[in-house]
């Protein structure tokens, strides 16, 4: 709920695909920040949990004309007709009107996985197993994020714990608004190539808003009208085409069991 002291924000990301080399630092930082456990022995790419997953797509041409691109895909934070919100029978998913972030409350989740079926971006993950860390490693968990148990769905929430921490710091400093750069998700902080830019899309002067307006910016499956808040940049036309097609294909192929 928006409080009178909070300016309404619309947080989003711009990911420059021409700078991403698929190093995986964003995936690693995300898992560490959000207490995502190591893979279960039997986990696969269909049953694993990666709030942010980097896909590799290629242009389908033969050697030496073959080219690949790495596409980091977090929850696209749909801003309109958010599919996962409307199908959740438990109201475990909602859109925060103050930030535009699509939140997931695993504690309320019953594990029906309607949201996973509804998500066109394949960005939601189901806990097929209880979270288990190697002995002692639970001491390295982030106290700002609770762990989840078997049978619930989880997904990227733009590191909500970091948003709360930033708000607390701002309040302690006597401010009711966050300054640009004061709150960034872990993947943004970790990217060594600076391929991910995060900020308030409602702030016309912000870098993220400026980049999102560039002609080479696009969003995935824009034709669905879900108004995602993740923008991608590329100067390679085939990437734009392939990333749209491939997500649809991935959705057909991958059902999370």
């Amino acid at each position: 709920m928006t409080t009178p002291t909070q300016k309404k924000s619309r947080y989003g990301m711009v990911i420059d695909l021409d700078r991403c080399n698929g190093c995986g630092a964003c995936m690693m930082a995300c898992a560490v920040e959000n207490n995502v456990p190591p893979a279960h022995r039997e986990a696969t790419d269909r049953t694993g949990i990666t709030w942010l997953r980097v896909y590799r797509f290629n242009n389908g041409l033969k050697f030496p004309n073959n080219r690949s691109v790495f596409v980091p895909v977090p929850c696209q934070q749909c801003g309109r007709e958010t599919p996962c919100v409307s199908v959740c029978p438990q109201q475990a998913v909602d859109v925060d009107p103050a930030t535009g972030v699509v939140g997931q409350m695993p504690e309320r989740c019953l594990g029906c996985r309607y949201c996973m079926a509804a998500c066109p971006y394949h960005a939601r993950y189901f806990n097929w197993w209880d979270a288990v860390w190697p002995p002692g490693m639970e001491k390295t968990l982030n106290p700002d994020v609770s762990t989840r148990m078997r049978g619930v769905v989880e997904k990227c929430n733009f590191c909500h714990g970091r948003l709360h921490a930033a708000r607390e710091r701002a309040a302690a400093a006597g401010r009711d608004t966050l300054q640009p750069g004061e709150y960034v998700p872990a993947c943004v902080e970790a990217c060594p190539a600076r391929a991910i830019v995060f900020g308030d899309l409602n702030d016309e002067t912000s870098e993220v808003a400026r980049l999102a307006r560039r002609p080479e910016a696009f969003r995935m499956l824009e034709q669905l009208g879900t108004e995602p808040k993740i923008y991608y940049l590329t100067r390679q036309s085939w990437v734009r085409k392939v990333s749209e097609d491939e997500v649809q294909m991935a959705r057909k192929d991958q059902t999370h069991g």
């Binding site: 021409d18 700078r19 080399n21 698929g22 190093c23 995986g24 630092a25 995936m27 690693m28 898992a31 560490v32 920040e33 995502v36 456990p37 190591p38 893979a39 022995r41 986990a43 790419d45 049953t47 694993g48 949990i49 997953r53 980097v54 896909y55 290629n58 389908g60 041409l61 033969k62 050697f63 073959n66 080219r67 690949s68 790495f70 438990q90 695993p106 309320r108 989740c109 019953l110 860390w133 190697p134 002995p135 002692g136 490693m137 639970e138 001491k139 390295t140 982030n142 106290p143 700002d144 609770s146 762990t147 619930v152 872990a186 902080e189 970790a190 990217c191 060594p192 190539a193 100067r235």
Partner: protein, 744 residues
């Protein structure tokens, strides 16, 4: 009038209530509450609570040595991040470094000394440090007394540290002691140039900030080479149309991550790096595109030297010949040579793939020669000599064994081998070490925190501290043009049973009757680091950057050596003053290198890594080429959370998997994602094959990396990885091997 309530009415009420209840929020509320309650029970793992602090250190998981900020809860690091303003790091860590605080809990962690009974597949048994000391000292005594020529050696993958000096001092107590430097070195181009100088240049760094073009022969510039963040910063604007941006031209067989992002990718046939380098040098000389007078003045063997004539050699690699060897078109080779001059300063780098190992001395000599021809040493945007660290020990050379290369050691000559497994980031094939060990009962002791990689093949494992458990030094990254120094601080207490390699070697020295120099007696590594820092203060050179305050202070402005030590203990890095001028270095150099029959060897290798190591293509028609990712080549543990990258997303392939071109795979009857038997003269292995059109036809790219089993507890990991299939030549080169494949 009151109606009589019948039993039927009560039943109706109960039934109606039961039915109606489902149309109220109550069951949903109950379900919700039960759901919330079950997910907050004691059986669900709870994160720890405590005071949140930030502590600082430096990463030792590869030689880049990035500054690290650790967020700690109750003293326990819970996440790591880079230091934003630290030169080079830009506040980013790689995926391996981000999970560094998990390594203590690695499922393959070793916390007590282990001994292997016999045989490669035999299990390990706990033993005491005294057992190991006794066995090793007896073997050392035998070696010393027998006069058989058997060697006692220490392989140190991170030379230059205080511990390294102690190793060298220890080995000086043995007439047949050998101190071995890294097997595979990301800085081989720099070393080749250093060694080709008539008078030593000293260590060379790269003035990347002023370089405009890099021709890279398979160097993973944008995937972990050198100081990764520095390269990323330099590469901003890649594929930009502006003239001023850094241009990267990647010449390598497969389309690596660097090739993907580079401005240009030249697919080279396997093992033909030397041909392209010589071909380019030939064009530069023939067309007089470079300062010929300066080259004639400085090159010992441009026309005729002791090893032959470089000009004559390059004439044998005309553009047409080079095109036929490398697969790169003649026009492209000519235009590339001209571009290197027109778009200067240009530098040429070679090798550095952590899995593929060194390029080979001839290829490195050819690449070094191309750099010399371009006039790259001592110029802005080229290679600049950097000063040594301030001397802090009286280092009498007779008390320090000089460094040797493994390729200079005769086969079957090492009786006792210590392996310091501090991560170098690069792969070591066990077969390379095995070849150097005596055939009868060699003693191999691995200082390792994990039962992985080389350790799996050792006789003894001395459990060493993991990253963030001990004091360790971080020396200058190979690409840095200025000398630097920092310390990795212990943020965690190591488990009981863990031994510092420094302390263990000292115990062996006592047992073996070796007298160490007084500097190494009755001191801890920390004491010696402090002495080194005190020397920095005495020299008054450079600046010190405090991580906590994000501020830089000139050393001469630091009040005392104790203040400086306190800064290091709180997280800091020292950086030398930049060189006062960048004038070309007067020292002369050899273009052909100093090896015997250099011209003949270069010519032979120039035709394709000795035509794929002299193996006929009839029996093994394919070429096997390993590839790896620095810090993740299976030698050391990775955070279990790295399963996100390897297991749950397939973003990186696991060790032992293979990539082949789609057509090649189909022709050999393979299926995408299915198993295949890969055979070479050295053996065979079953690997999972991925079809990938980024791989050159007729080439098998095998991945050197972690095994899936090592991430999961209680699963035994095979110590012989895919590198055991690679053909090792006399120079210790394993990058190309003839192979064949079949479906399983």
């Amino acid at each position: 009038m009151r109606e009589k309530i019948s039993r039927r009415d009560l039943l109706r009420l109960a039934g109606g209530s039961a039915l109606g209840l489902w149309f109220t929020p109550i069951p949903w509320k109950l379900l919700d509450d039960v759901s919330i309650w079950t997910q907050n029970g004691r059986w669900v793992t709870s994160p720890p609570r405590g005071e949140i602090q930030f502590r600082y250190s430096n990463c030792t998981l590869c030689p880049a040595g990035c500054g690290v900020r650790a967020r700690c809860v109750g003293g326990q690091p819970i996440s790591l991040a880079g230091i934003a303003p630290q030169s080079g790091s830009r506040g980013a860590l790689c995926a391996v470094g981000l999970g560094g605080h998990h390594l203590r809990y690695h499922p393959q962690r070793v916390t007590q000394p282990l001994r292997r009974a016999s045989g490669i597949s035999a299990s390990f048994q706990p033993c005491t440090p005294e057992d190991i000391v006794l066995t090793v000292s007896e073997a050392l005594a035998t070696t010393r007394a027998s006069g058989s020529g058997d060697l006692a050696a220490i392989l140190d993958e991170r030379p230059g540290r205080v511990t390294s000096l102690m190793y060298r001092n220890f080995l000086s107590g043995f007439p047949n002691g050998v101190y071995l430097n890294p097997v595979s070195d990301s800085g081989a181009t720099l070393h080749a140039m250093e060694s080709a100088a008539e008078k030593p240049y000293g260590a060379l760094g790269i003035d990347l900030e002023n370089t405009r073009t890099i021709l890279s022969f398979g160097t993973p510039l944008l995937d972990g080479w050198g100081n990764p963040a520095r390269l990323w910063k330099m590469s901003e604007g890649l594929q930009d149309s502006s003239e001023s941006h850094l241009k990267i031209i990647q010449a390598e067989t497969h389309q690596s991550r660097t090739a993907l992002l580079a401005d240009e990718w030249l697919p080279l046939r396997p093992g033909t790096e030397a041909a392209l380098a010589l071909g380019l040098a030939g064009i530069l000389i023939k067309e007089k595109l470079i300062d010929m007078a300066a080259l004639s003045r400085q090159a010992i063997d441009l026309e005729q030297g002791a090893q032959g004539s470089f000009r004559e050699l390059t004439e044998k690699f005309s553009p047409r010949t080079t095109a036929a060897i490398t697969g790169v078109s003649e026009d492209k080779i000519v235009s590339l040579a001209r571009e290197l001059v027109q778009r200067g300063p240009s530098i040429v780098l070679g090798g550095g793939d952590p899995g593929a190992g060194p390029l080979g001395p001839e290829e490195e000599t050819a690449i070094a020669a191309l750099n010399f021809v371009l006039g790259n040493v001592g110029r802005r945007g080229g290679f600049l000599p950097r000063r040594e660290l301030p001397k802090w020990l009286k280092e009498p050379s007779k008390n320090l064994k000089p460094a040797s290369s493994l390729r200079d050691i005769p086969d079957h000559s090492i009786r006792v081998l210590f392996v310091d497994a501090l991560p170098s980031g690069n792969a070591i094939p066990w077969t390379l070490l095995e070849k150097k060990l005596v055939r009868d009962n060699p003693v191999v002791v691995s200082f390792s925190p994990y039962l992985l990689g080389i350790s799996r093949n050792a006789q003894f494992i001395v459990p060493s501290p993991v990253y963030l458990e001990s004091w360790e030094e971080v020396l200058t990254p190979l690409d840095s043009p200025t000398t630097s120094y920092s310390l990795s601080l212990p943020l965690l207490v190591p488990p009981g049973g863990v031994q510092e390699p420094f302390d263990f070697i000292r115990r062996v020295a006592v047992a073996a009757g070796v007298h160490l120099a007084p500097e190494f007696q009755d001191v801890s590594p920390k004491d010696l680091f402090k002495r080194r820092v005190e020397q920095f203060h005495r020299d008054r050179r450079g600046t010190i950057f405090s991580y906590r305050n994000e501020s830089e202070t000139r050393v001469k402005d630091v009040a005392s050596a104790d203040s400086m030590w306190a800064m290091f203990c709180d997280g800091a890095s020292w950086r030398d003053d930049p060189p006062s001028s960048t004038s070309p270095i007067a020292s002369r150099f050899s273009l052909l290198g100093k090896a015997a029959n250099a011209a003949e060897r270069l010519e032979a290798v120039g035709h394709g890594r000795l035509e794929i190591q002299r193996d006929p293509a009839t029996e093994f028609p394919l070429v096997l080429m390993p590839e790896g990712w620095r810090g993740a080549v299976g030698q050391n543990g990775l955070s279990p959370v790295m399963t996100k990258i390897y297991q749950e997303s397939g973003l990186r392939h696991l060790g032992g998997e293979a990539r082949v071109n789609v057509e090649t795979g189909r022709r050999w009857g393979l299926t995408d994602g299915g198993p295949a038997l890969i055979q070479t003269r050295c053996g065979s292995k079953v690997a999972r094959v991925h079809f990938d059109d980024a791989v050159m036809p007729e080439v098998i790219q095998v991945i050197v990396g972690p095994n899936l089993k090592e991430f999961h507890e209680s699963q035994e990991v095979d110590g012989r990885n895919i590198l055991c299939l690679c053909n090792l030549d006399d120079d210790g080169v394993w990058r190309v091997t003839r192979a064949k494949m079949s479906g399983v």
